[in-house]
Amino acid sequence: MEDKILIEAKNLKKYFKVGANAQLHAVDGVSFTIKKGQTLGVVGESGCGKSTLGRVLLRLYDVTDGQILYDGVDITKMDSKEIRPIRARMQMIFQDPSGSLDPRKSVKELIGEPLKIYKVCKNQEEYDRRIAEIMKTVGLSERYTESFSHELDGGRRQRIGIGRALAMDPEFIVCDEPVSALDVSIQAQILNLLMDLQKEKGLTYIFITHDLSVVKHISHEIMVMYLGQCVEYAKTKDLFANPLHPYTQGLLDAVPIPSLKAKKLSTQIMRGELTSPVDPAPGCRFAARCPYATDACRGKDIPLKEVEPGHFVSCTRF
């Protein structure tokens, strides 16, 4: 049971058309598996395709190439009717809690929407009870039932978002930067809530963020993405203990250490900008910013290599 694979992506690709014959490679050949009840953290800077990856998994976008297996079923090519029963089992928590809640709906209507659509409740009473239950689970006081989202603060708004995602008792939740719009004290509350819920209900998460300290807290495995590709993929412990890819090292170096001693630590700060994801040249996409880049890095794509058991990296140095 513990080791059952819930969702699997095989060489997943999502290209967007930009202009006449240029393509933006948002997600370019990403593969991973997530076991039931586990969390995969996806880290990368903005524009590296991590949100697109989350949305592709939920089939909000059509897949350009590759395969998504959900609980052993191929959902890559399903049309909107076929995907509907599966959608009830997968949900999403959005980055911007105000943008993801319809400003014209009350808390009750927001959380109850999936219940209404899937006609889960037999009568009004059961519906009200279910909503009260969900609100209690996510830590929203009952007096907010009739409130509108803009009347509440960011943390409570995000709790509504989580409540809505939980309404149908899903198995799999895509958390698309669920805490990056919140301030630090609320971030911890929401993260703890998500972890408690995972323990309680055996939820499976894919946790998208640019904040390494957040994924360290919550993930079992971490995938580091750079320009649509996975550059390093490992258990959280291994990744933080032994970051191999220069980009991962750069990311870890960029995490501020709240200590005076840290002043003396010399850190390498990444320089340069992201190369364009539009029709990228073959080769390591990080090469332009990499301090170790050699000619071997350019010209052909570098496949992921298993350096240690369960620790994959795509770099010519290994």
């Binding site: 939920l58 509907r84 980055q95 659509i117 978002g161 809505r164």
Partner: protein
Amino acid sequence: MENTKKKGLLDRLKSSRVLRVMFGRKIIVVCAVLILVMVLVAIFAPVIAPYDPNKDDLYNVLKGCSAEHWLGTDSNGRDVLSRIIYGARVSFTVGLVAVLISSVIGMALGLISGVAGGVVDSVIMRIMDAMMAVPMLILALFLGAILGQGLFNVCLAIGISMVPQYARITRGQVLSVRNADYVTAGTLCGASRVRNTLVHVFPNCLSANIVTMTASLGGAILAEANLSFLGMGISPPTASWGAMVSGGYKYLSNQPVIAIAPGIAIMIVVLCFNMCGDALRDALDPKLRGTLGNGSKKRRKATKGV
């Protein structure tokens, strides 16, 4: 439960920033009150009007203002004041019905166009563009000529000619709303495209349309007056402000009141609606938030001091 909800709505209305900003300027309050009075006059016309508006009195033709006939009589001896009062009914009916027709059709087309996109969008919007290329009044005249006279046909003609502006505005709003996260969330909640459009997209496109509705009420009333003036509008015995101006302007030199009085009525109503429409637009414009309403008096005082 019911009670608290109602109270909540009333409180919200009272504390509504939009209403406060809108009625922050006194002239808007005056306009709103004038519109209200006009509407009441139209509704209670049979009670208020001193004479039957359609009864000819050939012994009292083209009389000037007097105690019996405050605004005199027209070439058939009908009381001008009574006809203006009854004419308000036609004007408001045409205004409301035309706006209703145009907004319902226009918003539906805009929604379909914005949500469907692609070929459907292109076809609908090119038709709208073609309609917009023709001046509204000419289009209404053309439609009026096809449909013929009569109150409903006038409403229909004016309504159809105003469809493009609603379609354009709604489409623009849909395009900005349809990619919002809450619409995506709706999809994830299992909502079909139709449900998502009606429940999440449409209500969030309404505010801009409400402004257009208020503003185009005046336009519709003016269009009716124009059509009636040109003889394409309401059929003769019924009092209509446009028709009254058209019937009265021949006597401008000896009895100017007959044409000028309904003209002033048109002017006031259209002006009031346009002012209210503008005020509503300003109040709803988030870019002007904070510059209007909050202490405009204070500012005025401050500038006086300088």
